[in-house]
Structure formats: structure tokens, C-alpha cells
Symmetry: C2
């Protein structure tokens, strides 16, 4: 019977790590080497790193998503649109909402969830930027608040006060877009721009904690000029139905707002810990070959994988860049296993950090590439190049033309 039944590889999730693992396998595997199944909740992949734009309404969400059938070859990969409920690793099965799958090899690429650090009311009352559905909701919520404002007999400041929790990457990129969008909304709904507040709250003493201080200063300056207020060294103590309660230096302040967007932290998908894997904030501390400790047949890529940077003994941040790089190692290792080509063991993953760029709205950004600091239009152009390069890796030049950010300057 050997050789008749192909080994079955099941990939859970079509985010950066999952879909790129599928695309790599499709390129490298022969048609009869393995049965490859990709499971995803939606029939599309989306660009998580772009979601701050449709959340603010500055880019249409269709620009951030790609139909899975447009990048996978259905002769080589079976796509199942379903929601993962549980991984039964002892039975080598995955329970889906409408089905159950067995596997020989599993790739967990289930992405992130917001981490609220136990802050009261945040889960119930704050929005988060995590999916196409969630950002369409934010965009429409904001527009609805603007539309309601002039219908109230007594004007409600909370309708046009926007609180963003967290001044990390997503928080900063989101307030940059929101600051661009607000004047358009003011024009659309006959509201004076000076009435609207955008408040960014960050527990650390600066925005973009961990970034170079020149870049941090530049970013804060640009955003303040666009009308963003910063409350740094400030904790969100509680998020209520009416807004937030902030705390700084033992003083508390309440700010009323109907729109609180939490960008202050992420964790791995809770399906992973609920399935009995050992996790830290939902993330499995993977082996160097990206397998879950103690499992020969389970790989983890992307935001569900915890990886320690040996230089500073701290975890690498969960980024698209790392997820994409992991997919290359993961696909290669899967093929070695499938081919029984394991005499040298499996390949080790080592991130090759090429740099980071954070956008600050239209035409403005900051970042580092190698040791070089980038500002303004240069950084903004680099951001678009990075975005386009990913589309190229995923779907070739056709996808860049279709979904890319081509107005570079």
C-alpha cells in the first residue's frame, strides 16, 4: 500500500503564514507527493498590515483582500471554507464547524486575537482591527456617529471623540489614517473639524516604544500637526459603554467616547490553547524547525508561534515579515518529511529582519531599513514597495497590478 496514499498536509488559516506555506508547497511539491488542504473561515486572504486603512475608511477593504482561488492552484491544493473549532492532536484530527479532517501533518497558522491584559470592559466595549469584518464595522460605526451628530438636539461630544488605545505600530498607523479621514467626514456631515478629537493613549512614555527616538519624535510631530492628541505614560484603567477611564501618575480622568479602538496588544488564537497545547498568551514556543515541542507532525507559523530573539532573550514581535519567512522554512521542512529526506534533520528558522516602516497617513511614514532611518515620502514609498513585494511573492506580477499600491510618489 505504500506510495498509494499520499501524506495529507492540513494548513489551518490563510493569513500571511498559512497562505504563503500553501503557495510555497504548490510551487515545490510534485502533484502526487502530498494531499494539501487549506482551511480558512473566509474565501479570501487579507492583508492584516493594511487593515488600519479600511478601518479609517481611507482605502476600500476590497483592496486589502485577495480571493484564495486566485492564488492557489486547485489541482494541487484543496481549499475548504470552514471555521476551525478544535485541534485533536492525539487523534490527528481537526474539528471544523461543518466537518472534521484528519491529517498526517498539520500547520497551525491561525493568527492573532486582541490581548486586553485584563483591562476591564475592553473586550466588551472596544473595537479591534483584526479582520475585514471588524474594520468594515469600525468604518461604518465612525460614519454613523458623524451622521447622528447633527440629528441630536443636544450635541454629544462623545460621538466625535475617537480614542485609540496603544501607540504601537497599528495604533500609530490607524491614527495617521483617521487624521486624514476626519476632514472628509467633517465636510460630508457639516461638522467643524475643530470639534472632533482623536486621542491616542499609550502606557509607555513615548509613541512606538522600542523605535529609534529620532523616528519617534518625527512621528509624534507629524501626527500632532494632523490634530492627534497623545496621552503618553497613561493607562486605560477601564473601558465603559460611555468611554474610557484613564490613569496617569495616580490621577484618573474620564473621557467620553462612543468609539474606542484597542490596538494595544495581540496574542495567539485561543483555539491553540483550548486544544491543549502549551502556550504563552496563546502562542506556542516553537522548536527551531518550527514544530510544536513534542510533536513531530505539527508546525506553527505566524502569530501563534513564539520565537525568542537570542540576542536580547525577548520574543520577536509577531509580524507579517516573520510569518512570511517562516512559511518558506515550514514548506521546505514539510517536503523533507513527506519525501523521507530527514537524515540531516529539518531546517532551522532564522529571521532575516530587513527593516520596518510605519505609515503616518497619506505620504508620510517613518522606518528603518538595515541601519538606515527613513522619513516622510521616502519612508512612505518604501512602505508601498514592501506591500507590493509581498503581493509579488504571493501571486506574481499580476497580483501586484491588481491589488498593489502603485502610486508610489
Amino acid at each position: 500500500m505504500i506510495g498509494l496514499k499520499r501524506p495529507k498536509i492540513v494548513i489551518l488559516g490563510a493569513g500571511y503564514g498559512g497562505i504563503m506555506t500553501a503557495v510555497r508547497l504548490q510551487k515545490q511539491a510534485g502533484a502526487n507527493e502530498a494531499e494539501i488542504i487549506l482551511v480558512n473561515k473566509h474565501n479570501y486572504h487579507y492583508q492584516t498590515t493594511w487593515l488600519h486603512e479600511p478601518a479609517a475608511g481611507t482605502l476600500h477593504h476590497d483592496r486589502t483582500r485577495i480571493l484564495i482561488k486566485d492564488v492557489i492552484n486547485e489541482n494541487k491544493i484543496t481549499f475548504i471554507q470552514d471555521t476551525v473549532k478544535e485541534i485533536k492532536h492525539e487523534d490527528k484530527k481537526v474539528v471544523l464547524e461543518h466537518d472534521e479532517l484528519d491529517y498526517d501533518y498539520l500547520v497551525i497558522a491561525l493568527g492573532f486575537e486582541p490581548e486586553t491584559f485584563g483591562i476591564k470592559g475592553l473586550k466588551e466595549n472596544a473595537f479591534s482591527i483584526r479582520s475585514v469584518d471588524s474594520v468594515r464595522k469600525i468604518r461604518e460605526h465612525i460614519e454613523y456617529e458623524f451622521a447622528l451628530y447633527n440629528n441630536d438636539k443636544e450635541k454629544k461630544q462623545e460621538r466625535i471623540t475617537f480614542i485609540v488605545g496603544g501607540a504601537g505600530f497599528t495604533g500609530i498607523e490607524f491614527v495617521g489614517e483617521l487624521a486624514d479621514r476626519i476632514p472628509e467626514l467633517c465636510n460630508e456631515y457639516d461638522i467643524d473639524r475643530s470639534e472632533v478629537r482623536i486621542i491616542n493613549v499609550e502606557a509607555a512614555p513615548t509613541v512606538l516604544p522600542g523605535f529609534d527616538s529620532d523616528l519617534v519624535d518625527y512621528a509624534q510631530n507629524i501626527l500632532e500637526r494632523k490634530g492627534v492628541e497623545f496621552k503618553l505614560g497613561t493607562m486605560i484603567k477601564e473601558c465603559t459603554e460611555d468611554g474610557v477611564i484613564l490613569s496617569k501618575d495616580e490621577e484618573t480622568e474620564e473621557i467620553k467616547s462612543n468609539t474606542v479602538v484597542w490596538t494595544g496588544g495581540v496574542r495567539g488564537n485561543s483555539i491553540v490553547e483550548n486544544s491543549g497545547f502549551e502556550t504563552m498568551r496563546g502562542r506556542i514556543k516553537v522548536e527551531k524547525d518550527l514544530r510544536a515541542p513534542g510533536f513531530k507532525d505539527v508546525f506553527v507559523v505566524g502569530d501563534c508561534a513564539l520565537l525568542i530573539d537570542e540576542e536580547n532573550d525577548r520574543p520577536y514581535p509577531p509580524t507579517a515579515q516573520i510569518a512570511i519567512q517562516q512559511s518558506y522554512t515550514c514548506a521546505t521542512n514539510l517536503l523533507r518529511l513527506v519525501r523521507g529526506n530527514t537524515e540531516d534533520g529539518l531546517g532551522h528558522f532564522k529571521p532575516d529582519l530587513k527593516g520596518t516602516v510605519a505609515s503616518l497617513g497619506e505620504g508620510e511614514a517613518i522606518g528603518t531599513v538595515g541601519n538606515k532611518k527613513l522619513y516622510g515620502t521616502t519612508a512612505s514609498a518604501m512602505k508601498k514597495i514592501i506591500d507590493n513585494r509581498y503581493l509579488f511573492l504571493l501571486g506574481g506580477p499580476g497580483l501586484v497590478l491588481k491589488k498593489g499600491k502603485l502610486k508610489l510618489f
Copy 2:
């Protein structure tokens, strides 16, 4: 002192009747004959008869509004942006939110309010199509419900069930537009069109009560083909936070909906009755010269004026057509008074009904012009001609080019 102080004409409201009275006076009055003041809540006039379109989201609301300063000559007319609170006719004064005005002649052109006929909960829980603010709210509410739908773990049918109360002119025109808009929203928010319901509820046994039965059948047929469900001979007993309770033939039915739009009736602005005028549903039964009975100095035009059709002893419906025609009589009569040219009394108003056209969404309409019935694209084109003709009367060819509906076929 005679001749030094010009008589002061104050026009309340810049809807069809008010702004056209101002424009007529501006054309006919010499610069020193009268001081003319126009008071309006907003700095724009809007086309009430077009509001079903921005309410559904098929036309931008800016297309339905015109800045007042673009049609009045500020050398001849003083525009005050303020909200009318009360008319003190004994003191010949008008109380505004931020000011008080005295007058020699007053024109009440304060428009309509929804009439809910005492139906429980309608005022609190239903939307109405009455102003730019109110229709932006409807449009954004609908979009927000679509955006929320896929974020709910358990899908809520009430988010995508739309109830329109009333199958008169506004109700029919609104469901026509909504039926055009829904497929776009389904596409935008990944929802199957067949999940969405548009339900039009009418107490009368047919749609468009009073209209020719061929036209009624045509309209209902077109709208049903677009996916509108009709519940005719059916009363809204109550509108709750959760939807409506309907009643037909002593049976009741509850339909859950987060969006109930009431178009079932209008009445005059309640400021009129609150100021001590005798009214029927907020409308003053005017004399033939359009003055309020017992008042030599108060004219009433538009939806606050009640006018009986002597042919059938029933009130004329409150339409834009009649309001516009009244403004001509009102302006002429004001000038006769100002000029002391009243030996023959004042001119009498007689409506000259040229016909009516109701749109059924893009490219479809029904109507009558004279004794001729119009259907389909012919009626739709006629509707646009009527709309453009009004813009021509208001602001000349420039305004037709700027705000007109010029894609006739």
C-alpha cells in the same frame, strides 16, 4: 417719515415655498421697496422630493442641496441662519434660537413634520425622510447594520430586514431606491441578496392610493420584481425597539427589524400651532389670497398651508408643485401690499396641477401628465425634466447644470 422706513418682509423657512417666494421677490421688487429677510435653520435649501435617494444611498445628499447664498442676491435679501422657535403674531415678532425679529409682513413656510397618527412607538423608534440630516442618518444606519451582520456570531435577520411604513409617494419612491441599493450593499458586505428583506406596509388595499389602477399595478409589479414584499391592507399597530407589530383582518404579526422608516403621513410644522394659529394637523386653512384667516400680514405657503380642492371638497396633497405655485401668488400679493396697490384686493391662488410622476428606482417610474399615463423610461425621463425645471425656476440654467439630473436616458 413715510418712505424712509421700508416695510419688512420676513420669510420663515427656505424649503420650496420659502425660497421661491424669496427668489420671486428678489426678481420683482425694487431695491428700496422692501427689506426682505429669509430665515432658515441651515445655510442650504434642499430638495425634499429627492430625499428618498440619499436616504437609500443611491444619490449623494450634496446633489439634493443648494447653498442659499448661491440663489439669493444678498444685496436684496438678508439671510439669517437660525432656528425659528415661536411666532408672536400679536407683537409682530418672531423668536429665533439666537435672535428676535420684528416684521411688517410674515411668510410662514416652515414645511412638514412626520404625522404618526398616534401609532405607538413610531415617533421614538422609526426613521423619517425629512431633511438632509435625517436621510444621512438613515443611509449610515443601513450601512452600519450591513457592516455589523457578519460580525455577529448568531446572524440577526433584523439587521437586514427593512420595513417601510406607507406606500404613498415617498414610501414607494424609497423602496424603489432601496431595492436598487441592496445588491450593492450585499456585495460590499458579503451578504447574500436573498437574505435581505424589504417590506412595504400600507393600510390601504393598494400601493399609491388614489392613483390610476393601471399605474398602481405597474408600480407594484416592478417593485416586486426588484424584491420588495408588500403587505397591503395592513396597519402598523406598534413600532417597538425590535421592529413592528402589524395587524390585518384582526390577525397580528410581529416582524423584527432594526430599521423602520415611516413615510405614512405628514403634517404642518408644530411651531405653527404652538404659536396660537388655528390649525388642522399643523396646517393653517388659508384664505384664497394665501393669508391666514384673520391676519392681514401673515401669509402661509407650502406644507403649513391647508387648501381645499373645491371639486371634491378634499385638501390638496402637500406637494412641491403646489408650494412653488403658491410662492408666485404670495410674492405678487406681498408686492401689492408693499406698494399699497390693493384697490382690487389681492390675487387668488389656484393650483394648476400639471401631473405627477413617482420614481420606482433607476430608469423606472409611473405618472400622469395631463390625462396621459406614463410608464417606465418615459415616466422616468419626465421625472427628471420636472426636477430640472424646478432648478431652472430657482436658479436659472447654471443651477440646472450644477445640480440637475442630466442623464435623461
